[in-house]
Symmetry: C2
Subunit: 272 residues, 2 copies
């Protein structure tokens, strides 16, 4: 690092304001669903996720950082980049730990404005591959599925009623930044949504243990892959909208895979 | 249910003894690694896992059940089956919650004797597909990988030093019973183990982001698939023993998949 860099870093450091008690209270409220709903904001925890947020087109409202975290050059660089587009405030370690959802905070927390996807935008497109979830309640599963959708190039995610809320910090965290990449429609009435998707040329595939084992490259021109709830799988109500029931070929003695593993396997096999 | 069944159930119910304070203390010790190591026993939580334990050839030592759990016919059936081969004792709800690792116990807890696989048995075989893990520390990941190995028919699991302990209740739980199906060798020195596996005709494949994207059916006659630690991936030290570096084809913007997702995807694609 040269002297100019050091100076730049020093200048940036000099202008951070401490967060006020009131602001801190509002940040803490974002740990609860009610607080997120009322404010339209959500938490983005840690360095990697804040980087993904800043690199994406999501409207970042604030970055909150502890003095200790700023010794990390990656954090300083992120703050420099972000400072022109969002507020950057400082807080004490103890305050950070009080507002964060993680056991050990990295000392960097982002606050972003939630942008709900317009249903008309979602249904207006013809997607190659959409993942749809029926009442997948575990936030870790929803986040993991988002990450897999992003990796394997599924273009959109449809969440039926009863799924974990996308703004839940555990969803955001387990998505590892993919929340900022994949267009998602949540709280959808699946029966209506699947009908619309079928009308716009999508084949509806539902994953269930008694389905036909998929072959690599199973994915056709325009597919929706529907995965069911963690314990019940797909309900009969949703199955009525499914064109084809598929399963993951298995050879061993495991009874089942969990819904996130099923998503990964089916996506890995999708295009062969 | 007919009257004969009811009678049978009643007779079985009649002969359950309560667990003693001393026994309960020994069960509680199994929540800690030290307690497991000293006793050679481990915990098996919940109905499904206890069923898998009883169906397998693992030596079950004890089933502990609460009076409330016995109203479940599946539990009663399991107890009937198990009573001839292992001790069945009763305890109060509060005692059960004190010894269990889960937030809300199902009221059924098994205690099994750990049987470490003999290295000579492991290295004596020529396996079609072995999964090997380098310092995968998260018990949930190790358990999920076990479940995936079982589902996709990987024949054995090799755990290098620094991996989560297989007897950890979180590993047992997230394996969803697959711990009782898949032969595992743990605490292995990976360099030595991979050398021996290569000498016995296995190709060693390591998973890393810069590898060659696999195609469906990538798995040859006798393969070992090595996956690295959650944050560091494969170390250079282990890579020295790898014949071929492979990766999961991805099309989106996700930086990576976690190690359990990577295992699922590579196993799903293994045989095409």
């Amino acid at each position: 690092m040269n002297v100019a860099c050091r100076n730049h870093s020093f200048r940036f450091e000099a202008r951070l304001k401490p967060i006020s008690k009131n602001q801190l209270k509002r940040v803490r409220n974002l740990g609860r669903k009610k607080g997120r709903r009322e404010s339209g904001l959500f938490l983005v925890e840690g360095v990697r996720l804040c980087e993904a947020m800043i690199e994406s087109e999501w409207p970042a409202e604030m970055l909150l950082v502890t003095p200790a975290a700023r010794s990390d050059s990656r954090v300083e660089e992120l703050l420099s980049t972000a400072a022109s587009t969002c507020k950057v405030l400082e807080c004490a370690d103890s305050d950070m730990q009080a507002v964060t959802d993680v056991v050990r905070s990295q000392g960097l927390l982002g606050i972003a404005r939630w942008e709900e996807l317009e249903p008309d935008v979602f249904f207006g497109g013809t997607w190659k591959l959409v993942l749809a979830l029926e009442a997948v309640r575990d936030p870790g599963n929803v986040g993991t599925i988002l990450r897999a959708a992003d990796w394997f190039g599924a273009e959109a995610l449809l969440l039926g009623e009863g799924c974990a809320e996308l703004q839940n910090p555990k969803v955001v965290r387990s998505s590892a930044g993919s929340l900022f990449h994949v267009p998602c429609l949540q709280n959808a009435a699946l029966s209506e949504a699947l009908t619309r998707l079928r009308e716009s040329g999508h084949r509806i595939c539902g994953a269930a243990l008694e389905g036909t084992p998929v072959k690599p490259g199973w994915h056709g021109a325009h597919d929706v892959l529907v995965l069911g709830n963690e314990t019940q799988g797909l309900t009969e109500r949703v199955r009525a909208y499914v064109d084809e029931v598929v399963r993951i070929p298995g050879r061993g003695r495991a009874e089942s895979l969990n819904v996130a593993m099923a998503a990964v396997a089916l996506l890995a096999l999708a295009r062969g």
